[in-house]
Amino acid sequence: MKAIEQTVVQEKINELANQDVYVHLETTNGAYASHFDEKAYNVGAFIRNAHVSYQHGKIVSTGGSYRVGLKLDLGWVYAEGVTDFEIDDKGRLLMAGHDREGRLMVALEISETPFSHEADVHE
């Protein structure tokens, strides 16, 4: 992954609009947060392979990190804290936000084909 290039990401978001896509959306502070700091809370959520179509989407910055919003017919997909991106060899738009130590805090990925579901034991 590399640092977000807003124009490149926006173009890819536009390209994937108005068609069936699969979305991976995730945020996490890790399963050990309250183990290492008893005052901390373990919080996380993910949805893998949400099958949606969005009318339009936008990547917005207020210095530092980015927010991405995708407008659905009946709702929204939203991620905050995105810092890095990659368009991989399958043409998928992978976006993530990492902390200072490089740990993933948030991820939003959009693909025309489903993301792997079962562990790829035979890969």
Partner: protein
Amino acid sequence: MSNQHVVVIFPHPDDESFGASGTISKFRAEGIPVTYLCGTLGEMGRNMGSPVFANRETLSSYRKQELTEAARRLDIDVELLGYRDKTLEFEPREEVADYLLKRLKALQPSLVITHYPGYAVHPDHDALAAAAVSAVGQMDESLRPEVWMHAISNHHEEDLGEPDYILDIEPYWEQKLAAIQAHLSQADGMMSLIDNHDKKSEQTARLKLERFYKWKFT
């Protein structure tokens, strides 16, 4: 030492290295075969390498390679169970136990090492260990291996007391370090935590003692 076989059951690539690789090395030095049944590929891990080299979609491939390398360094066999990271607690417990039971019947271990259900912090640890205990409990008593359990939670000794086995793995420290370092995407994050910890020597000392509770089947 004939007919001995140790089976390690943990959910993530690197659980074996951080939690039990000194003990594993000790058994290997005694000529006892060790098989690691690894539940998932850790594909939902937060650590992506330092500096970052993996992403959510490539992490599983890296971690699979890292596990292969750690297993090579520890001289153990690995079998992947094919579950998905973070989801083990939502699988029907008895189905996971049945699956483990099949594997155990084939491997005929004399000892199973797993986590201590309820005291292992990560939900995958608790869930897979509970299924492992259930699987071993279903085995015929004459074939039933011992079960050693690794507890992680901060205050587990208040409930569980002293562990039954405390292994000083100092003689195998180099092997343990090498196994941990094989997990490139994960090791840096963890080891820098230790290096930067204000109680570094205490943290390192903790890694040099591997402690296990013995499960008592009633």
